[in-house]
């Protein structure tokens, strides 16, 4: 039966919260670093989801978002390259709706059912900016779900969709910020009306009542309406998946998939999970957890991601991040479409080479081996999942480094299993960087120059799960 084979999630390290100068909301929200966007977060979630699963067994990748880095140009292909998937797979971006995540889930399940693919990776990721007070409630993050029909940890038992034409929350093409109509109209004619209608229809159709559901995972625009919705749907508080409004924020099209990952982290065999997303209508799913759930291990997931955090110094730094992301098209230019095409395995997949004559691994790929000088006798070697140690580093204070990123950390990394290469470091505290420290790799963007997003890998300290690891970002 078709269902979820594996899950993964990504919450960026940084938070706006109490202690952030200029931040007035009571809770925290997760915000992407300046070198992250919806695509890089999706890649992190995808890699978390795939764990030790053989990448060659994945037949497709869907990227669901309302904030794709490109208006025309698939992001799913970039994500697939970064996740080291095969090229003969299905790729699609599912966009423009808060329901994009669940729409992608349905499309993936249908594709598996139809036999178009055996395993499809659904990623949902968003990095939204809101007009006025909306932005305070928005958080950044991503989830990934591997859909298949073998070894599933949760089967998809049924689903229901409702389409609704309404301008309640929207973002016009070219606009940066999400807008909404007045609150009473938005909630009473939209969310509070449509989601209950869809959920009730589905439960009736399935001969189920709210009591039959172990865990209810459903969208909410904010904590107040989410609580109101639980009452409207007839769920008791203990049935309701925590929505993380005060820890994560509303992550748009990734919100319901991320809550689902959190629900799966706590799920037991036999649990029934109701999934309901909202946006231009509603999608409802019923999932039944299988005994395979106990075999899922080593996922970074939601709980660990949320626990590992760095409170940002100031709200203005966050605004500078977003300003940078939106960036001056000339800034940090230099990415070349033809170079990226030629070297995409090296740049996006972080493939180096292993010499088949002497076994030396090396990055970037060489034509002639650095050690034995044999020509063209290599196999690809994936560095993205290798851990390493900082061999040396420098902190860059140049005038070309934006204030919020100064000093920039540049490292030379020696990898476990061999190989040495140069990478910028991200999500670190510059004054804690040391020779010999452990690092792992993360897919990031180096900025947008000339309208080209310049994606590449950077190293970072492993994110420990202990609460308050980095504490407050300091000068």
């Amino acid at each position: 039966m078709v269902g979820i084979v594996s899950y993964g999630a990504y919450v960026p390290l940084r938070r706006l919260g109490p202690g952030t100068q200029g931040w007035t909301a009571a809770g925290e929200k997760a915000v992407a670093n300046w070198d992250e966007d919806s695509l890089t977060m999706a890649v992190a979630a995808a890699i978390d989801c795939l764990g030790d699963i053989e990448r060659g067994t994945v037949d497709g990748l869907y990227f669901a978002t309302t904030t794709s880095p490109y208006g025309e140009k698939l992001a799913a292909t970039t994500a697939a390259w970064a996740a080291d998937l095969r090229p003969d797979i299905i790729t699609a971006d599912i966009t423009d709706s808060l329901r994009a995540g669940t729409a992608a889930l349905r499309m993936a399940a249908d594709a598996v059912k139809a036999g178009s693919a055996k395993r499809l990776l659904v990623t949902a990721s968003d990095l939204r900016m809101g007009a006025g007070g909306m932005d305070g409630g928005f958080g950044d993050g991503a989830a990934a779900l591997l859909i298949g029909d073998k070894d599933v940890i949760a089967t998809i038992e049924g689903s229901y969709s409702l389409s609704n034409e309404l301008l309640d929350v929207w973002r016009a093409s070219g606009a940066k910020q999400v807008r909404s109509w007045e609150d009473r109209f938005v909630f009473e004619e939209g969310y509070l009306k449509i989601l209950p209608r869809a959920v009730k229809s589905f439960l009736e159709k399935s001969n189920l009542t709210a009591r039959d559901i172990t865990r209810a995972v459903f969208y909410g625009p904010d904590l107040r309406r989410h609580r109101q919705m639980a009452g409207l749907l007839g769920f008791k508080p203990e049935q309701v998946q925590e929505p993380f409004f005060d820890k994560l924020g509303n992550t748009g099209s990734a919100f319901v998939p991320m809550m689902l990952v959190a629900a799966l982290e706590d799920a037991k065999p036999g649990d029934k999970i109701l999934l309901a997303s909202y946006g231009d209508g509603a999608d409802v799913f019923l999932l039944k957890v299988t005994d395979k759930i106990t075999g899922i291990m080593g996922r970074w997931g939601i709980k660990n991601s949320l626990a590992s955090k760095m409170i940002m110094r100031s709200y203005s730094d966050y605004l500078a991040f977003r300003e940078f992301a939106a960036s001056d098209p000339e800034r940090f230019g230099g990415a070349s479409a033809s170079v990226i095409a030629r070297d995409r395995d090296a740049i996006y997949t972080l493939h180096g080479v292993k010499c088949l004559t002497c076994g030396t691994v090396q990055y970037p790929p060489q034509r002639i081996c650095t050690s034995c000088h044999t020509k063209d006798n290599f196999e690809p070697y994936r560095f993205a999942d290798k851990k390493g140690k900082v061999f040396t580093f420098t902190l860059k204070y140049g005038a070309d480094v934006p204030g919020f990123a100064r000093p920039m950390v540049d490292t030379m990394v020696d990898f476990e299993g061999g190989g040495r290469a140069i990478f910028g470091m991200t999500d670190m505290l510059a004054d804690k960087v040391k020779v010999g420290m452990d690092v792992e790799m993360s897919f990031r963007t180096l900025g947008a120059g000339g309208g080209i997003h310049n994606y590449f890998w950077r190293c970072m300290p492993p994110r420990p799960s202990a609460e308050g690891w980095l504490g407050k970002e300091t000068k």
Partner: protein
């Protein structure tokens, strides 16, 4: 393989003032340096039979030809990053040593200050790749080596900074005695240590500046040098080693030495018959693009054992009145680094020192001098070593 030793003589040299030469174009500086060299050799430009012209920014020979009006003779533009000017001389030497030409000109120029350049530049994708190796500056390349030097030899940040400061103070002092230097003022160790960071652990005074300049040499066959002057000097050895990025690719590279410098010096020492460089060489002009670079070069050239350069620096060994004067003219620290001119500028100092014309910087009876350049970065560089000496 034959040695170049004693086959080629330098009979004239010229060098402009280095600095922010707002009032001079590359053409002006080429004319000034070449004219001084010709005058010094007692020849006219029309006597020059071939030219090797070094520049990293002017990427053809034509501007040099046009500026100097060296009509209808071979003019070749050479480029090898920071070793560009030395490469002009090296290739010119082969033109002479082959017997094809009798009198040639080696000249280098760089006009960096017309390009709004404030510091040795950001390399956006070395090797033409705009993504991998994005956004690196020369300071970062060498800062990595400084970090490694601390880790490798167990030096604290404070200990390293003090040693580096002594190098910068020395070079600024030497430069204060040199009217052709860009910066002609002394600095203190405290200034150097407390200067704003450029690329940790390197601060402002650990870095050389950016300037404009040109330098030139007239070469001829050694057996005809006496026709021009008595105090000509001889090329004793030439070494050039270009790295294949092995230090970037191979984790066994320690990043506290620059293999290309070691190899280039071995080539040059072998040609010159030098067995003990520290004892035999009187003066060395080395590539102090950053203070850490000079520190490591002292070990790479065999002037002191590995890891001992800080001791030698603290002892004042490389000061103008030390056992082996390093960068007696003030170095890149005082001159800045107009890339295509620097090697010949260094040779100019050795040449003048050999002739006893170095003014307040004059060392007593020097017989053997070394010129060193290093391009690109530790782990993947271009090392160049030239040995010049007195005639017998």
């Amino acid at each position: 393989m034959e040695s170049i030793k004693d086959k080629v003589a330098i009979v004239g040299m010229g060098c402009t003032k280095f600095g922010e030469n707002w009032d001079k174009s590359a053409d002006d500086m080429l004319v000034d340096a070449a004219s001084e060299a010709c005058e010094d050799a007692g020849i006219e430009m029309k006597d020059v039979q071939a030219v090797w012209f070094g520049s990293t920014r002017i990427n053809t020979a034509e501007p040099c030809t046009t500026a100097l009006k060296v009509d209808y003779i071979p003019v070749t533009r050479v480029e090898n990053l920071c070793a560009t000017a030395s490469e002009a001389l090296r290739n010119a030497c082969f033109g002479i040593a082959s017997g094809v030409y009798d009198i040639v000109l080696a000249i280098g120029v760089e006009k960096l200050k017309d390009q709004g350049m404030g510091g040795l530049g950001t390399v956006s994708g070395a090797g033409g790749n705009g993504t991998i190796e994005w956004g690196m500056s020369a300071a970062m390349f060498f800062a990595r080596m400084a970090t490694r030097y601390m880790a490798h030899y167990g030096l604290t940040y404070g200990e390293l900074k003090q040693v580096l400061a002594k190098i910068s103070v020395k070079n600024h002092y030497n430069g204060s005695l040199n009217p052709r230097a860009h910066f002609q003022r002394e600095i203190t160790e405290e200034q150097a240590i407390n200067a704003p960071m450029v690329a940790w652990p390197l601060g402002l005074y650990d870095a050389c500046g950016v300037s404009d300049g040109s330098a030139a040499a007239i070469l001829c066959r050694a057996d005809m040098a006496k026709k021009f002057r008595d105090d000509y000097i001889l090329v004793k050895g030439l070494g050039l080693a270009v790295g294949a990025r092995q230090g970037y690719l191979q984790p066994d590279y320690d990043m506290v030495h620059m293999e290309e410098t070691v190899r280039a010096s071995q080539q040059a020492y072998a040609m010159a018959g030098i067995k003990n460089p520290f004892k035999e060489i009187d003066l060395a002009e080395v590539h102090d693009c950053f203070s850490i670079t000079e520190l490591v070069i002292m070990e790479d050239l065999g002037f002191c054992p590995r890891g001992k350069a800080p001791e030698y620096v603290r002892a004042g060994t490389f000061k103008l009145d030390g056992e082996l004067a390093v960068n007696p003219d003030g170095g890149l620290k005082s001159f800045g680094h107009p890339i295509g001119a620097s090697g010949l500028r260094m040779m100019y100092e050795i040449y003048k020192q050999m002739q006893g014309k170095a003014g307040p910087r004059q060392r007593k009876n020097p017989t053997l001098g070394l010129i060193h350049n290093f391009g690109l970065n530790p782990g993947s560089g271009i090392g160049s070593v030239t040995i010049l000496g007195q005639r017998d």
